[in-house]
Amino acid sequence: MSNKEDILKRYRANVREKYDMPDLSDIKAITYPNPLVQFAKMSEMVGGQVIEVDQGRDVNVLIRELFPDAKEIASNLPEITIATRNPDTVGRARDLNGTDVGIIRGAFGVAENACIWIPQTMKEKAVCFISENLVILLPKSQIVNNMHEAYKRIQFDKTYDGYGTFISGPSKTADIAQVLVMGAQAARSATILLLPE
C-alpha cells in the first residue's frame, strides 16, 4: 500500500462525526465609505509610503526624485525607462542582488490591511524581495474593501502562473527584544504610487 493510501485509510477509520461546511455568504465584512483613503491610511500604518501621481506626471521622473542616489534600478515594465536591470533577462535570480530600487505593478489593493496583490509577471520574482526599496505602481481605482472581496478577484498571470503574493508595506521584524525594525530580509521600504485612471 502506498503511503497516501495508508494515511487516508487510517484517517477514514478514525474520523468520527462529520460536520457540514458553513455558509460563508452571510459574513458581514467591513466596508469603508472611501476605500482609497482607508487603503492609504493602512499603508502608512504598516510602514509604507503612498504618493498620488497626478495626471500626466512621468513616474520615471518621480522615482528619480524619490531615490536620487539609486544606481541600480530593476524593472520589466514598459513604461519604466530608467531601469538598469530587467528581471526577465538577467542570467540568474541572484544577479538582481544589489538592486537599489525595484519597480513592479500591483493588480489591486485591499483597504482593510493595505495588502496589494502582486501576481508574478516577471521571469525572476526575486525583484519583488531582493531590492532595497520597492516601488509598486497601483491604479487608484483598483481598491477593494476586504480580503473576502480580494480572494474573489485574485488571478495569476498567464505566462508566469506559479506564484502570486499580497504585499503590505516593507519587510519587518520585531524578533530582537520586540523592537520593530523595518527591513528584515526583503525590501527595506515600500512606496506605492497611486496612478490616475
Binding site: 495508508d6 460536520y19 459574513i27 500604518m45 502562473d161 525594525v181
Partner: protein
C-alpha cells in the same frame, strides 16, 4: 508535589526583572490583538465561521487532501506523503540528495521542529540555515524556540548583541536592535544567494487550487524560494482548507489574533516552481494526525492555525516562559498537542493552567483549549501519571468532606495548628507552604458561628 513545569518555571522566575518584562510584553501583544478584534464588528462572526470551516475540513480531510494533491500534481508539483517524522526526514533528505544539495535556506516551520529535521539533515552533511531572524538567532545560539511566533523572545538585545559579536562579527558593544537586524540581513543575504535549495512550511494548503500559502513579515519565505533552484514545502495534513473563500476568513484572523497586526507583510501563494527552477516538492505529513482525529475529546486541537494567541494571553505562559513546558510547542495549545503526542512524557504540563479559559476566549478558531486541559487532568490516573502526593491529598479530602463527624472534629481542632511554630509549618515537608503563607485557622469554624447567630 511540583510538576516538571513548575520546577522549570522556578528557574525562569529567578530573574524577576526579566520575568516581569516577559509578562508585560505578551500582555501588550494580547492588547494589540484586542484592538484588532474590537476594530471589526464581524470578529466574533469570523471566529464562528473559522471554527465551523475547520470542523468541516478536518472531518472531511481525506477528500480535501486528495483534491489538494491532485491539483498540486496538475500544477507540476511532486507530492510526497510522510507517515511519521522519520519518513518525513528521509523524504526531504532524498530530494536534497537527488539534487546534490549542500546547503538549504529555510523559513520558519513548526513542522520541521516537530520532526527534528534540522539535526537529521545536518547529520547527513547538509548545512541548514534558518532565515527567520528569531529562528536564526536561536539556531546560532544552539537553542529551541520558546514561542511559536516569537521564537527568540527569551533573549534580550544584549544576549543577541553578544551572540552576533561572536558568530557574525558585529561591532563590539553595539546592541541596538536596528543595527543587529541589519547585520543579520547582510549575513542572511549571502546565504540566500549561495543556497542550493529553499524550504518553507505552509500556513495553508488550498485544495481547490493546489496553492501552498505562506505568511511572513520578514519576506524570508519569498527570499528562500527566489534564488535557489529547488523549493520544498512541508505541511501538516490539517493545514489543508477547501478554497479561497475559506482562506479569506483565516488570512484576516491569523495575524490579527497572533501579533495584533492587520496582516502579515507577505501572504504568498506558491503554486509551482519558478520558470528557471526544478519542479516544486510538497511533503504532506501525518505524524499522528490521522490518529488524533479519532480522539473524542481532543480532536478539535487539529483546528489550530498556530497563531500563538493562546500563549500570549495565558497567565501561566506569560509568567513561566516557553522553556518551562516539556513539549516543543508551549502554552495551552502545546499542552494539548503534547498530550496527544505522548501522555507519559508530557503530563507534567497539564498543571500549567489556572482554568481561566482566556485561551479559548481569544482562540480565532475556537479550540476549546482549557476544557481539553481539564479533561486531560481527569485521565492522569489512567495514564499512571497522577502525582501520588496529590492523589493522597484527594483521598484524604474526600474522607474528611464525605464524613460529617470527621469534618466537624477536624474544623473544631484546626485552630490548634496555629500554635505549631512557624519554622515547622513553613518547612519543605509542607507543600502548601511553598509560595503560600500558611493561613491562620479561626478559633470557631464557620458553621458553629452561624449556628450561634441563628439561635
Amino acid at each position: 508535589m511540583s510538576t516538571g513545569h513548575s520546577k522549570a518555571a522556578k528557574e525562569f522566575l529567578k530573574n524577576q526583572n526579566y520575568a516581569k518584562w516577559h509578562d508585560a510584553t505578551f500582555w501588550s501583544v494580547r492588547s494589540k490583538r484586542d484592538n484588532m478584534a474590537y476594530g471589526l464588528d464581524e470578529w466574533e462572526q469570523l471566529r464562528e465561521k473559522a471554527s465551523a470551516i475547520k470542523r468541516h475540513t478536518i472531518t472531511h480531510l481525506d477528500e480535501y487532501l486528495d483534491q489538494f494533491a491532485t491539483n498540486a500534481e496538475k500544477n507540476g508539483c511532486i507530492v510526497h506523503w510522510a507517515k511519521d517524522a522519520n519518513e518525513f526526514n528521509e523524504i526531504v533528505y532524498g530530494i536534497l540528495k537527488n539534487h546534490n544539495v549542500k546547503k538549504i535556506v529555510k523559513s520558519k516551520s513548526m513542522l520541521t521542529e516537530e520532526c527534528e529535521m534540522n539535526p537529521y539533515l545536518e547529520a547527513h552533511g547538509i548545512e541548514v540555515v534558518e532565515t527567520d531572524l528569531g529562528e536564526r538567532i536561536i539556531q546560532l545560539k544552539g537553542q529551541k524556540p520558546s514561542h511559536i511566533v516569537m521564537p527568540a523572545i527569551h533573549l534580550n538585545h544584549d544576549d543577541v548583541g553578544e551572540l552576533f559579536e561572536e558568530k557574525l562579527g558585529s561591532e563590539k558593544g553595539n546592541h541596538d536592535p536596528t543595527y543587529l537586524t541589519y547585520v543579520a540581513r547582510l549575513s542572511l543575504r549571502n546565504e540566500f544567494l549561495t543556497a542550493d535549495a529553499g524550504m518553507t512550511g505552509g500556513n495553508f494548503g488550498i485544495a481547490e487550487t493546489g496553492d501552498i500559502v505562506v505568511c511572513t513579515n520578514e519576506g524570508n519565505a519569498d527570499m528562500s524560494t527566489s534564488c535557489p533552484k529547488l523549493h520544498i514545502a512541508a505541511i501538516g495534513l490539517e493545514k489543508i482548507i477547501p478554497n479561497y473563500d475559506c482562506l479569506a476568513v483565516f488570512q484576516r484572523m491569523l495575524c490579527r489574533a497572533g501579533t495584533g497586526q492587520p496582516t502579515t507583510t507577505y501572504t504568498s501563494h506558491f503554486r509551482k516552481a519558478r520558470p528557471t527552477a526544478h519542479p516544486m516538492h510538497i511533503v504532506l505529513v501525518d505524524n499522528g494526525r490521522s490518529e488524533w482525529i479519532g480522539n473524542p475529546e481532543h480532536w478539535e486541537a487539529l483546528k489550530c492555525i498556530r497563531c500563538g494567541s493562546c500563549m500570549n494571553t495565558c497567565p501561566v505562559y506569560r509568567r513561566s516562559g516557553g522553556y518551562s513546558y516539556s513539549y516543543f510547542i508551549p502554552g495551552p495549545i502545546g499542552i494539548n498537542l503534547g498530550m496527544l503526542r505522548d501522555t507519559q512524557q508530557h503530563s507534567g504540563n497539564v498543571s500549567a493552567c489556572t482554568l481561566c479559559l482566556s485561551c479559548q476566549t481569544v482562540c480565532p478558531v475556537k479550540v476549546n483549549l482549557g476544557d481539553q486541559i481539564y479533561q486531560w487532568r481527569q485521565q492522569l490516573d489512567d495514564f499512571g501519571t497522577a502525582n501520588p502526593q496529590k492523589k493522597m491529598m484527594c483521598r484524604g479530602m474526600s474522607m474528611v468532606y464525605g464524613n460529617q463527624g470527621v469534618y466537624n472534629l477536624g474544623t473544631a481542632l484546626a485552630h490548634w495548628a496555629n500554635i505549631i511554630p512557624s519554622p515547622l509549618m513553613n518547612c519543605g515537608l509542607n507543600p502548601w507552604a511553598e509560595g503560600h503563607k500558611m493561613m491562620t485557622f479561626p478559633p470557631k469554624p464557620f458553621h458553629k458561628l452561624i449556628k450561634e447567630i441563628e439561635k
